[in-house]
Protein backbone atom coordinates (compact mmCIF):
# COMPACT_ATOMS: atom_id res chain seq x y z
CA UNK A 1 0.00 0.00 0.00
CA UNK A 2 2.79 2.41 0.98
CA UNK A 3 4.58 1.72 -2.24
CA UNK A 4 1.48 2.24 -4.35
CA UNK A 5 1.34 5.68 -2.72
CA UNK A 6 4.97 6.22 -3.63
CA UNK A 7 4.23 5.33 -7.28
CA UNK A 8 1.30 7.76 -7.36
CA UNK A 9 3.43 10.50 -5.77
CA UNK A 10 6.05 10.02 -8.49
CA UNK A 11 3.32 10.31 -11.13
CA UNK A 12 1.92 13.43 -9.49
CA UNK A 13 5.38 15.02 -9.33
CA UNK A 14 5.81 14.07 -12.98
CA UNK A 15 2.58 15.85 -13.90
CA UNK A 16 3.65 18.94 -11.99
CA UNK A 17 7.09 19.03 -13.63
CA UNK A 18 5.57 18.46 -17.10
CA UNK A 19 3.14 21.36 -16.60
CA UNK A 20 5.57 23.80 -15.04
CA UNK A 21 8.38 23.11 -17.52
CA UNK A 22 5.91 22.83 -20.44
CA UNK A 23 7.54 19.61 -21.56
CA UNK A 24 5.97 17.71 -24.47
CA UNK A 25 6.36 14.55 -22.37
CA UNK A 26 3.47 13.12 -20.33
CA UNK A 27 3.61 13.15 -16.53
CA UNK A 28 3.87 9.35 -16.04
CA UNK A 29 7.01 9.18 -18.20
CA UNK A 30 8.63 11.89 -16.08
CA UNK A 31 7.33 10.03 -13.02
CA UNK A 32 9.20 6.97 -14.27
CA UNK A 33 12.39 9.03 -14.50
CA UNK A 34 11.82 10.36 -10.96
CA UNK A 35 11.31 6.86 -9.52
CA UNK A 36 14.34 5.65 -11.45
CA UNK A 37 16.50 8.42 -9.96
CA UNK A 38 15.14 7.56 -6.51
CA UNK A 39 16.18 3.92 -6.98
CA UNK A 40 19.64 5.04 -8.13
CA UNK A 41 20.04 7.14 -4.98
CA UNK A 42 18.77 4.36 -2.73
CA UNK A 43 20.87 1.73 -4.58
CA UNK A 44 18.20 -0.96 -4.49
CA UNK A 45 14.55 -1.88 -4.99
CA UNK A 46 12.52 -2.15 -1.75
CA UNK A 47 10.65 -5.45 -1.53
CA UNK A 48 7.24 -3.81 -1.25
CA UNK A 49 7.84 -1.76 -4.37
CA UNK A 50 8.83 -4.93 -6.20
CA UNK A 51 5.45 -6.43 -5.23
CA UNK A 52 3.12 -3.52 -6.05
CA UNK A 53 5.08 -2.48 -9.14
CA UNK A 54 5.39 -6.07 -10.29
CA UNK A 55 1.62 -6.49 -10.09
CA UNK A 56 1.02 -3.39 -12.22
CA UNK A 57 3.55 -4.61 -14.79
CA UNK A 58 1.95 -8.06 -14.97
CA UNK A 59 -1.44 -6.57 -15.86
CA UNK A 60 0.11 -3.91 -18.14
CA UNK A 61 -1.17 -5.40 -21.43
CA UNK A 62 -4.76 -5.27 -20.16
CA UNK A 63 -4.49 -1.58 -19.35
CA UNK A 64 -4.38 -0.79 -23.09
CA UNK A 65 -7.74 -2.41 -23.80
CA UNK A 66 -9.99 0.63 -23.01
CA UNK A 67 -7.94 2.89 -25.31
CA UNK A 68 -7.96 0.18 -27.97
CA UNK A 69 -11.73 -0.07 -27.93
CA UNK A 70 -11.67 3.62 -28.94
CA UNK A 71 -11.34 2.26 -32.48
CA UNK A 72 -15.16 2.13 -32.60
CA UNK A 73 -15.24 5.92 -32.87
CA UNK A 74 -13.16 5.85 -36.07
CA UNK A 75 -14.59 2.91 -37.97
CA UNK A 76 -15.75 5.20 -40.84
CA UNK A 77 -12.27 6.70 -41.40
CA UNK A 78 -10.76 3.23 -41.23
CA UNK A 79 -13.25 1.93 -43.80
CA UNK A 80 -12.48 4.85 -46.14
CA UNK A 81 -8.69 4.65 -45.97
CA UNK A 82 -8.06 1.16 -44.70
CA UNK A 83 -5.23 0.56 -47.21
CA UNK A 84 -3.23 3.63 -46.17
CA UNK A 85 -3.91 2.95 -42.52
CA UNK A 86 -3.34 -0.80 -42.56
CA UNK A 87 -0.27 -0.53 -44.79
CA UNK A 88 1.37 2.08 -42.58
CA UNK A 89 0.56 0.18 -39.40
CA UNK A 90 1.55 -3.32 -40.54
CA UNK A 91 4.45 -2.65 -42.95
CA UNK A 92 5.69 0.44 -41.10
CA UNK A 93 5.74 -1.36 -37.75
CA UNK A 94 7.44 -4.43 -39.25
CA UNK A 95 10.12 -2.21 -40.85
CA UNK A 96 10.69 -0.34 -37.59
CA UNK A 97 11.05 -3.55 -35.59
CA UNK A 98 13.42 -5.02 -38.19
CA UNK A 99 15.63 -1.91 -38.50
CA UNK A 100 15.85 -1.26 -34.75
CA UNK A 101 16.48 -4.91 -33.87
CA UNK A 102 19.10 -5.49 -36.56
CA UNK A 103 20.96 -2.22 -35.91
CA UNK A 104 21.00 -2.85 -32.16
CA UNK A 105 22.22 -6.43 -32.53
CA UNK A 106 24.92 -5.39 -35.01
CA UNK A 107 26.05 -2.53 -32.77
CA UNK A 108 26.15 -4.72 -29.66
CA UNK A 109 28.17 -7.41 -31.46
CA UNK A 110 30.49 -4.88 -33.04
CA UNK A 111 31.16 -3.40 -29.63
CA UNK A 112 31.79 -6.78 -28.06
CA UNK A 113 34.30 -7.54 -30.82
CA UNK A 114 36.16 -4.24 -30.87
CA UNK A 115 36.22 -3.32 -27.21
CA UNK A 116 36.65 -6.43 -25.07
CA UNK A 117 38.95 -4.42 -22.78
CA UNK A 118 35.92 -2.39 -21.75
CA UNK A 119 34.67 -5.05 -19.42
CA UNK A 120 38.08 -6.06 -18.07
Amino acid sequence: MGYLTLILICQLLGEIVARLARLPVPGPVIGMVILFCGLLLRRGIPEGLETSGGYLLRILPMLFVPAGVGIVTHLDVLRRSWAAFGGAVVVGTALTIAVTGLVMQLAVRHRAKTAPADTA
Binding site: Q11, L35, F64, V69, H74, V103
Partner: protein, 253 residues
Protein backbone atom coordinates in the same frame (compact mmCIF):
# COMPACT_ATOMS: atom_id res chain seq x y z
CA UNK B 1 -34.51 -7.11 -24.82
CA UNK B 2 -38.09 -7.98 -23.85
CA UNK B 3 -39.94 -8.62 -20.58
CA UNK B 4 -37.86 -8.29 -17.43
CA UNK B 5 -34.60 -8.06 -19.36
CA UNK B 6 -35.37 -4.58 -20.70
CA UNK B 7 -35.38 -2.69 -17.38
CA UNK B 8 -32.52 -4.83 -16.08
CA UNK B 9 -30.39 -3.89 -19.12
CA UNK B 10 -31.31 -0.22 -18.72
CA UNK B 11 -30.17 -0.35 -15.12
CA UNK B 12 -26.96 -2.30 -15.72
CA UNK B 13 -25.86 -0.38 -18.78
CA UNK B 14 -26.02 2.84 -16.78
CA UNK B 15 -23.53 1.66 -14.14
CA UNK B 16 -19.77 1.71 -14.66
CA UNK B 17 -19.68 -1.82 -13.24
CA UNK B 18 -20.96 -3.52 -16.39
CA UNK B 19 -18.29 -2.40 -18.85
CA UNK B 20 -15.55 -2.49 -16.23
CA UNK B 21 -16.36 -6.13 -15.55
CA UNK B 22 -16.79 -6.98 -19.23
CA UNK B 23 -13.36 -5.50 -19.98
CA UNK B 24 -11.78 -7.75 -17.36
CA UNK B 25 -13.77 -10.75 -18.58
CA UNK B 26 -12.81 -10.07 -22.22
CA UNK B 27 -9.12 -9.81 -21.36
CA UNK B 28 -9.12 -12.95 -19.22
CA UNK B 29 -11.08 -14.82 -21.86
CA UNK B 30 -8.51 -13.63 -24.38
CA UNK B 31 -5.71 -14.85 -22.11
CA UNK B 32 -7.41 -18.24 -21.77
CA UNK B 33 -7.76 -18.56 -25.56
CA UNK B 34 -4.13 -17.50 -26.01
CA UNK B 35 -2.85 -20.22 -23.66
CA UNK B 36 -5.22 -22.85 -25.08
CA UNK B 37 -3.88 -22.15 -28.58
CA UNK B 38 -0.31 -22.75 -27.42
CA UNK B 39 0.34 -18.99 -27.35
CA UNK B 40 -0.47 -18.38 -31.01
CA UNK B 41 0.60 -14.76 -31.72
CA UNK B 42 -2.58 -13.94 -33.66
CA UNK B 43 -4.62 -14.68 -30.53
CA UNK B 44 -2.91 -11.86 -28.64
CA UNK B 45 -5.16 -11.23 -25.59
CA UNK B 46 -5.26 -7.43 -26.11
CA UNK B 47 -6.36 -7.94 -29.71
CA UNK B 48 -9.05 -10.50 -28.84
CA UNK B 49 -10.36 -8.40 -25.96
CA UNK B 50 -10.58 -5.24 -28.11
CA UNK B 51 -12.33 -7.13 -30.92
CA UNK B 52 -14.80 -8.79 -28.55
CA UNK B 53 -15.62 -5.50 -26.82
CA UNK B 54 -16.07 -3.63 -30.13
CA UNK B 55 -18.51 -6.33 -31.23
CA UNK B 56 -20.33 -6.14 -27.88
CA UNK B 57 -20.64 -2.35 -28.14
CA UNK B 58 -21.94 -2.58 -31.71
CA UNK B 59 -24.37 -5.39 -30.87
CA UNK B 60 -25.81 -3.60 -27.85
CA UNK B 61 -25.82 -0.16 -29.47
CA UNK B 62 -23.65 1.28 -26.68
CA UNK B 63 -21.53 4.33 -27.44
CA UNK B 64 -17.86 4.60 -26.52
CA UNK B 65 -18.45 7.25 -23.88
CA UNK B 66 -20.73 4.94 -21.91
CA UNK B 67 -18.18 2.15 -22.26
CA UNK B 68 -15.32 4.37 -21.14
CA UNK B 69 -17.25 5.48 -18.07
CA UNK B 70 -16.64 2.01 -16.69
CA UNK B 71 -13.36 1.19 -18.39
CA UNK B 72 -11.64 4.37 -17.24
CA UNK B 73 -10.80 2.72 -13.94
CA UNK B 74 -8.58 0.33 -15.85
CA UNK B 75 -7.32 3.07 -18.15
CA UNK B 76 -6.28 5.12 -15.14
CA UNK B 77 -3.81 2.45 -14.01
CA UNK B 78 -1.74 3.08 -17.17
CA UNK B 79 -0.13 6.07 -15.43
CA UNK B 80 1.09 4.23 -12.32
CA UNK B 81 2.13 1.23 -14.46
CA UNK B 82 4.25 3.53 -16.63
CA UNK B 83 5.93 4.89 -13.48
CA UNK B 84 6.54 1.29 -12.34
CA UNK B 85 8.56 0.63 -15.51
CA UNK B 86 11.40 2.30 -13.58
CA UNK B 87 11.77 -1.01 -11.71
CA UNK B 88 12.89 -3.27 -14.62
CA UNK B 89 14.89 -0.31 -15.93
CA UNK B 90 16.80 -0.03 -12.66
CA UNK B 91 17.28 -3.78 -12.41
CA UNK B 92 19.12 -3.83 -15.75
CA UNK B 93 21.06 -0.62 -15.20
CA UNK B 94 24.45 -2.31 -15.69
CA UNK B 95 23.44 -3.86 -19.00
CA UNK B 96 22.02 -0.54 -20.19
CA UNK B 97 25.12 1.40 -19.18
CA UNK B 98 27.31 -1.01 -21.13
CA UNK B 99 25.17 -0.71 -24.26
CA UNK B 100 24.89 3.07 -24.24
CA UNK B 101 26.22 3.74 -27.75
CA UNK B 102 24.29 0.89 -29.45
CA UNK B 103 21.11 2.14 -27.74
CA UNK B 104 21.51 5.65 -29.16
CA UNK B 105 22.37 4.41 -32.65
CA UNK B 106 19.47 1.95 -32.91
CA UNK B 107 17.09 4.48 -31.33
CA UNK B 108 17.91 7.06 -34.00
CA UNK B 109 17.62 4.51 -36.81
CA UNK B 110 14.35 3.10 -35.49
CA UNK B 111 12.74 6.42 -34.69
CA UNK B 112 13.37 7.79 -38.18
CA UNK B 113 12.25 4.53 -39.80
CA UNK B 114 9.01 4.65 -37.81
CA UNK B 115 8.13 8.16 -38.94
CA UNK B 116 9.31 7.80 -42.56
CA UNK B 117 7.68 4.41 -43.12
CA UNK B 118 4.34 5.45 -41.62
CA UNK B 119 4.10 8.62 -43.70
CA UNK B 120 5.67 7.12 -46.83
CA UNK B 121 3.48 4.02 -46.96
CA UNK B 122 0.26 5.87 -46.17
CA UNK B 123 1.08 8.31 -48.97
CA UNK B 124 1.81 5.47 -51.35
CA UNK B 125 -1.69 4.15 -50.67
CA UNK B 126 -3.18 7.58 -51.35
CA UNK B 127 -3.86 8.62 -47.78
CA UNK B 128 -5.10 12.16 -47.22
CA UNK B 129 -2.68 14.66 -45.67
CA UNK B 130 -4.54 14.66 -42.37
CA UNK B 131 -4.17 10.88 -42.20
CA UNK B 132 -0.43 11.13 -42.86
CA UNK B 133 -0.02 13.68 -40.09
CA UNK B 134 -2.11 11.58 -37.71
CA UNK B 135 -0.06 8.46 -38.50
CA UNK B 136 3.39 10.07 -38.21
CA UNK B 137 3.77 9.68 -34.41
CA UNK B 138 2.16 6.21 -34.29
CA UNK B 139 5.14 4.40 -32.73
CA UNK B 140 5.11 6.64 -29.65
CA UNK B 141 3.20 6.02 -26.44
CA UNK B 142 -0.40 7.34 -26.64
CA UNK B 143 -0.26 10.55 -24.56
CA UNK B 144 2.91 11.80 -26.28
CA UNK B 145 1.61 10.78 -29.71
CA UNK B 146 -1.67 12.63 -29.23
CA UNK B 147 0.17 15.76 -28.14
CA UNK B 148 2.46 15.64 -31.17
CA UNK B 149 -0.45 14.97 -33.52
CA UNK B 150 -2.27 18.04 -32.28
CA UNK B 151 0.86 20.13 -32.64
CA UNK B 152 1.54 19.16 -36.26
CA UNK B 153 -2.10 19.34 -37.39
CA UNK B 154 -3.28 15.72 -37.26
CA UNK B 155 -6.36 14.29 -35.55
CA UNK B 156 -5.35 13.26 -32.00
CA UNK B 157 -8.12 10.66 -31.66
CA UNK B 158 -7.18 9.06 -34.98
CA UNK B 159 -3.57 9.06 -33.80
CA UNK B 160 -4.65 7.22 -30.65
CA UNK B 161 -6.20 4.51 -32.80
CA UNK B 162 -3.07 4.17 -34.97
CA UNK B 163 -0.91 4.01 -31.84
CA UNK B 164 -2.96 1.19 -30.37
CA UNK B 165 -3.04 -0.73 -33.66
CA UNK B 166 0.74 -0.28 -34.01
CA UNK B 167 1.24 -1.59 -30.49
CA UNK B 168 -1.00 -4.59 -31.01
CA UNK B 169 0.57 -5.28 -34.41
CA UNK B 170 4.06 -5.29 -32.94
CA UNK B 171 2.96 -7.50 -30.04
CA UNK B 172 1.30 -9.92 -32.47
CA UNK B 173 4.09 -10.40 -35.05
CA UNK B 174 7.18 -8.75 -33.47
CA UNK B 175 8.53 -11.93 -31.89
CA UNK B 176 7.99 -13.95 -35.04
CA UNK B 177 9.68 -11.30 -37.19
CA UNK B 178 12.69 -10.98 -34.89
CA UNK B 179 13.10 -14.79 -34.91
CA UNK B 180 13.05 -14.82 -38.74
CA UNK B 181 15.70 -12.08 -38.83
CA UNK B 182 17.78 -14.01 -36.29
CA UNK B 183 17.73 -11.19 -33.80
CA UNK B 184 18.24 -13.27 -30.66
CA UNK B 185 20.02 -10.72 -28.51
CA UNK B 186 17.63 -9.82 -25.67
CA UNK B 187 18.65 -6.16 -25.65
CA UNK B 188 18.06 -5.88 -29.42
CA UNK B 189 14.66 -7.59 -29.17
CA UNK B 190 13.67 -5.22 -26.37
CA UNK B 191 14.86 -2.10 -28.21
CA UNK B 192 12.94 -3.13 -31.34
CA UNK B 193 9.69 -3.66 -29.44
CA UNK B 194 10.00 -0.47 -27.39
CA UNK B 195 10.88 1.82 -30.32
CA UNK B 196 8.26 0.38 -32.70
CA UNK B 197 5.41 -0.58 -30.40
CA UNK B 198 5.75 1.57 -27.25
CA UNK B 199 3.92 0.31 -24.12
CA UNK B 200 2.11 -2.62 -25.72
CA UNK B 201 5.39 -3.84 -27.21
CA UNK B 202 7.07 -3.31 -23.85
CA UNK B 203 4.39 -5.35 -22.11
CA UNK B 204 5.04 -8.15 -24.62
CA UNK B 205 8.84 -7.91 -24.21
CA UNK B 206 8.44 -8.16 -20.41
CA UNK B 207 6.83 -11.55 -21.00
CA UNK B 208 9.94 -12.72 -22.90
CA UNK B 209 12.53 -11.73 -20.31
CA UNK B 210 13.46 -9.14 -17.71
CA UNK B 211 16.20 -7.62 -19.80
CA UNK B 212 14.13 -7.46 -23.01
CA UNK B 213 11.45 -5.67 -20.97
CA UNK B 214 13.94 -3.21 -19.48
CA UNK B 215 15.39 -2.29 -22.87
CA UNK B 216 11.87 -1.94 -24.28
CA UNK B 217 10.84 0.42 -21.45
CA UNK B 218 13.95 2.50 -22.03
CA UNK B 219 13.41 2.53 -25.80
CA UNK B 220 9.79 3.57 -25.37
CA UNK B 221 10.70 6.53 -23.15
CA UNK B 222 13.60 7.66 -25.36
CA UNK B 223 11.61 7.31 -28.57
CA UNK B 224 8.81 9.37 -27.04
CA UNK B 225 11.26 12.17 -26.26
CA UNK B 226 13.05 11.99 -29.62
CA UNK B 227 9.86 11.92 -31.70
CA UNK B 228 8.38 14.82 -29.73
CA UNK B 229 11.47 16.84 -30.60
CA UNK B 230 11.87 15.62 -34.21
CA UNK B 231 8.37 15.57 -35.68
CA UNK B 232 7.34 19.20 -35.22
CA UNK B 233 10.57 20.12 -37.07
CA UNK B 234 10.13 17.49 -39.81
CA UNK B 235 6.46 18.36 -40.31
CA UNK B 236 7.33 22.00 -40.93
CA UNK B 237 6.49 23.46 -44.34
CA UNK B 238 7.31 21.05 -47.15
CA UNK B 239 7.98 17.99 -45.04
CA UNK B 240 4.85 15.94 -45.60
CA UNK B 241 3.31 15.55 -49.05
CA UNK B 242 3.80 19.16 -50.02
CA UNK B 243 5.87 18.37 -53.08
CA UNK B 244 2.79 17.15 -54.90
CA UNK B 245 0.41 19.96 -54.24
CA UNK B 246 -2.33 18.38 -56.36
CA UNK B 247 -2.49 15.37 -54.05
CA UNK B 248 -3.14 17.39 -50.96
CA UNK B 249 -6.43 16.85 -49.26
CA UNK B 250 -8.83 19.77 -49.37
CA UNK B 251 -8.31 20.11 -45.64
CA UNK B 252 -9.87 18.68 -42.52
CA UNK B 253 -13.62 18.36 -42.59
Amino acid sequence: MTGALGPLWTHLSATPLLWLTLTLVAYQGGGWLFRRSGCHPLLNPVLTAVAALVLALKASGTDYRTYFDGARFIHFLLGPATVALAIPLYREIDLIRKAFAPILVSLAAGSLTAIASAVGIARLFGGERIILLSLAPKSVTTPIAMGISEQIGGLPSLTAVSVVLTGIGGAVFGGWLLDRLRVHDESARGMAMGVASHGIGTARALQWSRSAGAFAALAMALNGLLTALLLPVLAGPGAVGETQVSRRAPGPQ
